[in-house]
Assembly symmetry: C2
């Protein structure tokens, strides 16, 4: 068995599945200077993929291409083995169907050299269930990106029960090296983290439309002109850390905790036990690091001004 | 009864309650060139309020002050009647306690000239229950801002059963004139729109912390480096309109609809009936307006590049 190449020595990436997500990965890896070998069973896969890469390229160019980045570094092949056999890393982005993922991951595993890590873009399945048919379950890992993968930094990395710990570490290291913002999860949870949060919001939105409480346009405006402006730089925890004034998250939970019992959404809240309160306060303070509430308020205001200006959302006034 | 002044003729605004939200309103109205009369029962209210306005002023200055805007246009008084009797509009931002709001709104109503509209910053109560003790229920209306009110444009406007239709219209007109992004809701729903969506996400986040599925820092990173980057300009509806490729929201619902049954969050989804599917597709297409999916993809990429650059989230690369 050949030793795994170091994350910074990866030169060739195979992208299996070249739809919106897989094609987005192709564009990203090309922009970071990699050779990409892509496979997709669709007859017009290559044409669609080239269009997708061309669409993404201006944005990637504006953010700055890595040395040697070139759209010509892409090879599209109709043989799966031809795509993965020479790769230092494989990213699977097939449609979100469990049977299909299972079969495909087993096929990829069979055709890929033993030392190569295989990541899956699945948006919600755990690797334990997806790896069921694959021999090499130890090197199969979830690496879940967000749309468009060529611009959104987040990738959630989590293994299944058979995934080797060093495979999780290697994947996180490689994707960070490539410029991604990586969250390594300790346990498999359906939907991982961001999709669970996003899905809760989305389901509440669907309930509101179903009940005639809000239109799709109102739902979108309520986010883009409201909390969405903060979420690009402060997550829900830091946001509420600032909502309580100088007392921070502790004051916020003690003060607004009762609103968890309010019918403000269809999702019941957990009981705010002293333990949960402690975890949220400690974790938020750890996330805030050295920054005081006053620092965070200044940071929030500076970034909000930047975001408002760059998006043209400056108050018109009288 | 004196006639209501036109929205563009308002000169003096009373802000009742000068904490984080009320003080934020004060700063915003001052920056838009209004005279502000503020009342708060706290002994150190004036000092805290001046600090809050001073903290907000640099950001407001950078976004552009209205002609005549001046921090000296603020008067802090210890008499409620003194604050509201000369106002053309009253914004109440007292702590979120129903009894307190009821009593205070009745007091404000009694001390404010008949023709003046009184808005409440409540983050979740309906005006029907808050106006219970007030004589002038017809001119009481919810005008719910987001923190910080001096930078976040959104204000949700919704009346109670006694609120006059023209009061809702006037309030929306005045706040739009002042530079706010206003959503007028047809019916009272606890938490209105944005807080319901935000609260669903927040509750799912608390469940994840309670179950050891994610830390507060992971939750924040999953939003700020993931979907939060899009939500500053495309809401959940337009986001999913783009997730399905050229087929848009219709394709997305038909394709990913089954994931509504997945355990991706603790909130159950509504049944995706043909009627709900129709409302979501039609409403999203209306929100998209003339823009094709390709237009929206270009818009998304351009804005994502702008937001990533202004926040310094550019991939480091190798």
């Amino acid at each position: 068995m050949t030793a795994r190449v170091a994350p910074e020595q990866v030169r060739t990436v195979a992208c299996v599945g070249a739809g919106v997500i897989g094609g987005g990965w192709v564009a990203y890896f090309l922009a970071r200077g990699y050779r990409v070998r892509a496979w997709d069973p669709a007859a017009d896969a290559e044409a669609r993929l080239r269009t997708l890469v061309d669409t993404a390229w201006p944005a990637l160019t504006e953010l700055g291409l890595a040395p040697g980045a070139n759209r010509d570094n892409m090879t599209v092949t109709s043989e799966l083995a031809d795509a993965v056999s020479a790769a230092d890393y494989v990213q699977e982005s097939a449609p979100e169907q469990l049977d299909l993922k299972r079969r495909l991951l087993a096929d990829i595993d069979a055709a890929t050299p033993d030392h190569v890590v295989i990541g899956s873009s699945t948006s919600g399945y755990g690797m334990t269930e997806m790896a069921a048919d694959a021999v090499g379950g130890h090197r199969l890992v979830v690496a879940h990106p967000f749309n468009p993968p060529y611009l959104i930094p987040l990738v959630e990395v989590v293994g299944g029960t058979r995934t080797a710990a060093d495979v999780v570490t290697w994947t996180a290291g490689f994707l960070r090296h490539v410029g991604k913002s990586v969250i390594v999860m300790d346990q498999e949870v359906p939907g991982f983290i961001a999709n669970r949060l996003q899905e809760a919001l989305w389901r509440e939105a669907l309930h509101m439309v179903a009940n005639g409480e809000a239109t799709p346009a109102q739902i979108d405006a309520s986010i883009t002109d409201g909390p969405g402006l903060r979420w690009a730089f402060h997550g829900p925890m830091l946001t509420f850390h600032l909502a309580g004034g100088p007392g921070g998250m502790a004051h916020m939970l003690d003060h607004f905790g009762p609103s968890l019992l309010s019918p403000w959404t269809r999702l019941d809240a957990p009981e705010l036990t002293p333990q949960l309160r402690g975890s949220v306060v400690a974790g938020t303070e750890e996330a805030a690091g050295e920054k005081t509430i006053a620092d965070l308020v200044r940071e929030r205001d500076r970034r909000l001004v930047d975001v408002l200006r760059v998006l043209g959302k400056v108050p018109g006034g009288s």
